[in-house]
Symmetry: none
Subunit: 124 residues, 2 copies
């Protein structure tokens, strides 16, 4: 079912975790990604999580919903979450389809995401 | 269909984009304005967007809805949006007609809008 390259990589950068989604995840992969990420927050005592979706050219409602749930779970584990790299076409689709995304904090790219987390967690 | 002067100008001011709507836009113009603005947020790495509607003497429900959607798309791309220059008569009409505008952040004029964005993005 899975191709050679992993669909998601989770890297540690200082007190943050950077999760990059490389290609579209099916629902089961999305759930196992969420589990991995939440357990790694504990392992690495992460203060913040950046989820990079720049490689995705579609985010369906399940995906968007899972991102919201990950952000909420991370918050309950003490980490702030920032989603980065939402493409213009995806932003348009999400808003047009009326997805509920108020709870997601977003930034343009990885650099802005780190800066945003620095502000949120006040670690400079 | 279009007159000589462009109906909208989008100018860059520091890390903000200032979009001024000079005269009433039809629905197609409104959509192409939204597309332009969202793509320029990426091009210029804008942290904030100010939409100046002071020149408008009417905002219909489609226009108001598009402003809300632009603000939400901008947020997904990492930029905060402030609407400035809503005239008293328009404010009255919007409230009387019961338009859903809770998601819009507003300020009196351009100067107040910039100040508001400074506070929102905490870059001084």
């Amino acid at each position: 079912m899975t191709s050679g390259a992993p669909a998601v990589s989770i890297l540690r950068q200082g007190s943050y975790l950077v999760a990059s989604i490389h290609n579209a995840l099916d629902d089961a992969q999305m759930i196992s990604f969420a589990d991995d990420l939440i357990s790694q927050i504990g392992d690495y005592r992460a203060r913040g999580v950046i989820i990079d979706v720049a490689a995705l050219d579609v985010i369906d409602s399940f995906g968007a919903n899972t991102l919201s749930r990950i952000a909420e779970m991370a918050r309950l584990r003490g980490a702030a979450t920032v989603i980065v790299g939402i493409q213009p076409a995806i932003a348009l689709a999400m808003v047009t389809l009326g997805m509920q995304l108020e709870s997601l904090t977003c930034a343009l790219d990885l650099e802005e995401g780190v800066e945003h987390l620095n502000r949120l967690t006040s670690t400079r």
